[in-house]
């Protein structure tokens, strides 16, 4: 039977252990093949990593079977979960030793001349003005935890790592980050800065 012919939610819930095991093996192959394609260009993913990602993904997929609404192919839904599992782990490894205090100290350095690369400040006055307003807003408009969350985002820290640093739930961290972004956006708007200004200044 090919992956497109399997009724996955039924097969994975089958009381017949043989049928369920066969579905698990087939899904394992699908996920392994997909992750191999998606991660082939990375030098930091070994065959053992792939196996771990597939195992962890299978557990998560079985836990969430009730959430599959049939609005996409089952294998697409499952691949999305597998990719999320793999990338979350790869990002976590990169950031695992960063502390909240270190991130906040990073924020205190925002105003230091050496903090911004030359290409940020450059020669453009509009870009310098934008960065100055952003710095001032991060310093004055946010709570310490909101500031840490935004600085994490500025440093391209993964969301799961920000959640861990803040010591809160994903939903609380998301709200904190969303509130912080809204506060900063309002400050930029109050300074007369528009989305077009940002796009023009940074060639976005």
């Amino acid at each position: 039977m090919t992956p497109t012919e399997i009724n996955w939610p039924v097969a994975l819930r089958a009381t017949d252990s043989g049928e369920q095991a066969a579905a698990m093996r087939a899904l394992r192959d699908v996920l392994h093949h997909g992750l191999r394609i998606a991660l082939s260009s990375r030098g930091d993913v070994s065959e053992a990593h792939l196996e771990d990602f597939v195992q962890e993904s299978l557990i998560r997929i079985l836990d969430r079977l009730d959430q599959f609404q049939g609005r996409s192919k089952f294998t697409t839904w499952a691949q999305a979960i597998a990719l999320n599992t793999a990338f979350t782990e790869l990002r976590r490894k990169r950031w695992q030793d960063v502390s909240l205090d270190a991130l906040l100290a990073d924020g205190e350095r925002l105003a230091e001349p050496g903090m911004m690369a030359e290409d940020v400040l450059g020669a453009q006055e509009d870009r310098q003005h934008l960065v100055a307003v952003l710095r001032e807003a991060i310093e004055h408009e946010l709570t310490p935890k909101q500031r840490a969350a935004i600085l994490g985002e500025l440093r391209e820290m993964p969301f799961d790592q920000i959640v861990e640093l803040l010591g809160t739930s994903r939903s609380a961290a998301y709200k904190m980050l969303h509130d912080a972004r809204r506060a900063l956006k309002q400050r930029l708007q109050a300074a007369g800065i528009t989305g077009t200004d940002i796009q023009n200044a940074f060639n976005l």
Binding site: L39, S72, Q79, F87, D106, A117, L130, S171, Q199
Partner: protein, 82 residues
């Protein structure tokens, strides 16, 4: 351990400013995006028009580099299977 000890680049500052410009009152979070991103990927692959839910996924992907990275990887897998 300190955060990566490098200067903030134009791309980093620009991407946060872009995020601020795109921020709206109501947004999907990453879990909600993950729940629907498969459907969004298939819709995109079939070049079909997006409905309101799919538009909110698109907005989240514009804001969230992690979900965007995973979406692009998903598209790579789906395209390889075509």
């Amino acid at each position: 351990m300190k955060p990566p000890d490098q200067q903030l680049t134009s791309a980093q500052v620009g991407s946060v400013l872009k995020m601020l410009a795109l921020t709206t009152e109501r947004e999907l979070n990453c879990s909600e995006c993950l729940q629907h991103v498969g459907e969004f990927a298939e819709t995109r692959l079939a070049s079909q028009p997006v409905d309101a839910v799919m538009a909110s996924i698109e907005q989240h992907l514009a804001l969230c580099p992690e979900c965007r990275e995973e979406f692009e990887a998903l598209m790579t897998i789906l395209q390889a299977g075509q």
